[in-house]
């Protein structure tokens, strides 16, 4: 095996934080693909630019996603990364593993790939970094083989103009704040939409992320076209003794809780903490800080937000509220129907490479809300419109006229 001098990358083996160079070298010690990867990355460091070619069409038979074609621009210098495709493997909900399944996956990655992986890619998949075209079908067969017990069988994730692999926070598995079962929702919705993940039919990508509360540990509002964020409807329950415990531990309740409440709905007289629950907007600052004393109660569900995307093309969008509260319980029928309605509307109104959030900006919220069958309510917006350029349909004016007729009849003005 060729030995590359890597003086620049060697610098990145020093220092306290774990080193990706050590990882590549560990793989390169016994894998020729990883060795040439090391060589090419060093060459990038030396010359200040990337040497991977633009795209390429590869995949497993029947699927349009899950594999990203990757080819070196310098196959003569680094022949073993001439083909260096990415394999996206759909992770289990919440990224929980047993050592048995991890070893199975690592053995497949070693046998057919470079021995380098990502835990995890930005969307949530397990990534095998680097394999050849001829190894794609064998990798897929080993991952999915019907001879293996179910828990050792993995499928590919999404890529291209498809539903991308959904992901979820660790939810009720290890968190007291989960307002719905994020893991089960992620699992069942991933299984429901296998076709949409594997066979790209959309105009562009579409992502779901499932977060159990406003803390949003999977960054759903910033990283998913459809962000599902857990919330509740009942009062915050207070354990007054535990409030005292926090105070004894050094918390300044007035400064850190009362005065930091965005809706000014908390008061504390040194004896009793009170919350005006009607005025609370459920931001969870107090709950996360007084974590032994406060907890949500009552009806649980999620706020559904839509539209997030990164800046290309018209600028970044953060998801915005479309359904303030939806019950989310297995089998998640209402949510699945919503997804299908959204996709139908999106498909009808979009051009290639337009994300749903952009299309809502082009078409207006009304068209979208009518398509998914949702009536407008103030919880959807931060503020009403600022301009007088208002679309009306004939039926809207007719409704106003009807109300005015009624007012004339009764002599009472209706707001």
């Amino acid at each position: 095996m060729k030995k590359y001098e890597t003086p620049l990358l060697d610098e990145l083996e020093k220092g306290p934080f774990p080193s990706f160079v050590k990882e590549i070298k560990k793989a390169a010690a016994k894998n020729i693909m990883a060795n040439d990867e090391l060589g090419q990355v060093e060459y990038s460091y030396k010359t200040n630019r990337v040497y991977w070619k633009h795209g390429g069409i590869v995949g497993v038979l029947g699927y349009g996603g899950g594999i990203i074609g990757r080819y070196s621009m310098l196959p003569e210098m680094f022949p073993e990364v001439k083909f260096f495709h990415t394999v996206r493997v759909n992770q289990p909900s919440g990224w929980f593993y047993t050592t048995e399944v991890l070893r199975e996956l690592m053995d497949i990655c070693d046998k057919y790939g470079s021995g380098i992986c990502n835990f995890h890619g930005s969307t949530g998949d397990i990534i095998f970094l680097g394999t050849t075209t001829e190894n794609l079908e064998p990798i897929f067969a080993e991952l999915t083989s019907h001879e293996k017990p179910r828990h050792l069988r993995f499928d590919l994730g999404g890529s291209g103009s498809a539903l991308r692999t959904p992901s979820a926070c660790n939810g009720p598995a290890r968190c007291e704040w989960a307002n719905y079962d994020t893991l089960e929702a992620c699992h069942q919705i991933t299984h429901e939409f296998q076709d949409e993940i594997h066979r790209p039919a959309f105009n562009y990508k579409f992502k779901f992320k499932f977060a159990g509360c406003a803390c949003d540990c999977v960054a759903s509002i910033a990283r998913a076209d459809c962000s599902v964020i857990g919330t509740w409807k009942g009062p915050i329950l207070i354990d007054q003794d535990a409030v005292k415990w926090h105070e004894k531990k050094g918390m300044d309740i007035d400064r850190e809780i009362v005065r930091m409440c965005p809706t000014e709905c908390i008061s504390y007289d040194g004896k009793e903490l009170k919350i005006d629950n009607d005025e609370c907007n459920r931001c969870m600052h107090c709950i996360t800080r007084l974590h032994k004393a406060l907890k949500p109660s009552g009806e649980r569900g999620a706020t559904i937000c839509i539209g997030n995307k990164a800046p290309i093309v018209i600028g970044t969008i953060i998801s915005h509220v479309i359904i303030p509260f939806m019950k989310l319980e297995p089998p998640f029928t209402e949510f699945k129907e919503l997804a299908r309605k959204m996709w139908d509307w999106w498909d009808e109104h979009s051009k290639p490479r337009e994300r749903i959030g952009e299309v809502i900006e082009f078409q207006g919220m009304r068209s979208f809300l009518e398509a998914i069958g949702v009536e407008p309510i103030p919880q959807m917006i931060k503020e009403p419109r600022r301009d007088p350029f208002i679309f009306f349909k004939d039926e809207d004016i007719a409704r106003v006229k009807e109300v005015e007729e009624e007012e004339k009849r009764t002599g009472k003005i209706i707001f």
Partner: protein, 82 residues
């Protein structure tokens, strides 16, 4: 409509667009469904059968996915031709 006839219609639509316009899966389904009156689910299912045996394939270029007619290299790699 006979399944083989439907397959031919799907193939013809993709062939006609070759080199001119990239068709995504839904374009093909909608186009064939409108042209033949066959419901979309049936078209989708039939198209999937064609993709599963390499008569059509998914492609990806310019940041978007599309449906194409496979080239020889693809068919050889998938063991469809020797």
């Amino acid at each position: 409509m006979e399944k083989e006839e439907l397959k031919d219609k799907i193939y013809a639509l993709v062939l006609a667009a070759k080199g001119k316009k990239k068709l995504k899966e839904r374009d093909v389904i909608n186009g064939v469904s409108e042209g033949t009156g066959v419901d979309k689910d049936t078209v989708k299912q039939t198209m999937r059968e064609m993709i599963d045996v390499g008569r059509l394939m998914y492609s990806y270029a310019g940041g978007a996915s599309s449906v194409e007619i496979p080239d020889e290299a693809y068919l050889r790699e998938k063991g469809m031709i020797k």
